[in-house]
Subunit: 147 residues, 4 copies
């Protein structure tokens, strides 16, 4: 894959991502994309926390689901949409740091169903990075209805 | 269990829930609680959606996780805190309606680990209710450090 | 649903189950079936255990998967086959007793994907029954290729 | 880690594995072990199949669970035992070939809970290898009761 191909993937993924109002509400953005791999970044904000001042598990789950979902979407043909069938996520450490980085990656792409792995890291501006969640996800490819 | 007991459970669950800034940000609230059962409600808002105008999967996962987590917490002794170890969620229908109702329920409470079931429904003011997600969750009881 | 309908479901489920050599190897059998509900029973055997003399987790997972899979299959049209996409299982107590009873139940049946819940109980001849595993499963309907 | 250390891990893992009667019943064996990594191998047998002649999903789940469980056990201190809390497994292709190879790997080891990833491959004597299942697992460390 050339850099140009990755640019095309990134543009296509962002075009869909930018229509998700919830991602704008929480301040998440797509920071990298290639065929089968998408990275989402969310800066820490005090209004996105649980009772101990860490980022909320719902935020962790949301960026994980989105990273995995767009990793699947990145390998789908044009004109198709992606649906999360299910995911499973282990929370392995508190979600802290200056931002979260979620990485979704295709394990196996099928005609109907695609399986992704995702990991979420809490990272600091000084370079510290710590795994805070890991999971696995099943996505479905939907053919978009013609207009 | 008498109504009074339920009132105590509800007050205890709300005291913790109200310290979760993310729940205030998205407008979720605890609408019912009893020992081993918690209900969370989230009104529809256009800034919490995915690309097709339905409530975002991250929102569905968040209220599911919170409903299950507080269901576990509701049976823990005073002075303990709850941690989500992991959960698995199936998205079975688009999250639409006037609000989401998430119901978490303890399947088995253990000394260290508690297992909960959760369901999320999309509901309308006219009484229509539709299952949109179902899952299972493992929670850990943590003893709070003395101040 | 009448008893006759249930007999038809049971016969159809058993016809497929009986072609699973592994179920014969471990001595499992279908003990009940109705549309959307299947029960599998497996008598305790010393050659199916883990290191502490309880029935092996692999056995628990196998009967759970089969009970859920056939619960889905029981609502599929004739000429279709069932495939386990994925499942998640919590082991909540050691699998002991005179037999295991696994109950699979359809939560939501879709055109392509069906979601089931399963529970596995360790039971004794004296009537004691204890939940030892609980989980959730995604199944896919496959149209059988014409001969 | 030196080869000697790996030999010690392998011996310790096998000592427990060999007390699992079910693993002997189905003909599984541990073929490699290092700290945090265990490989299980199971030759194809006609009496371990589902209705289409592929190895049964229950077999796939069993070797996956065991590979992950012993990967966790391999990093536990002496005198502790391992318990599967839960796992989630995606079946991504039929389990065929001359044998199955299951690989369990620790993602994060904690004091109480350890998270593992597992993969199961269907392999042929001619070198062909194909992923047939992938999953994630939560294990608990138990201190063995003194005799």
């Amino acid at each position: 894959m050339t850099a140009n191909d990755d640019d095309t993937v990134l543009a296509r993924v962002r075009e869909s991502f930018d229509r998700q109002s919830f991602m704008a509400t929480i301040g998440a953005e797509i920071t990298a994309a290639a065929a089968g791999l998408v990275e989402v970044r969310l800066p820490y904000r005090e209004d996105l926390c649980q009772q101990n001042g860490y980022l909320h598990g719902g935020i962790v789950g949301a960026v994980a689901d989105v990273a995995g979902g767009y990793a699947a979407y990145s390998v789908f043909p044009d004109g198709s949409d992606v649906l999360t069938v299910e995911y499973k996520i282990n929370m392995v450490a508190p979600a802290q740091g200056d931002w979260l980085r979620a990485v979704g990656q295709v394990i196996r792409a099928g005609r109907t169903l695609t399986i992704c792995d995702f990991k979420v890291y809490g990272e600091r501006a000084d370079g510290d990075s710590r795994l805070c969640a890991t999971g696995q996800q099943t996505l479905m490819r939907m053919d978009r209805r013609a207009g």
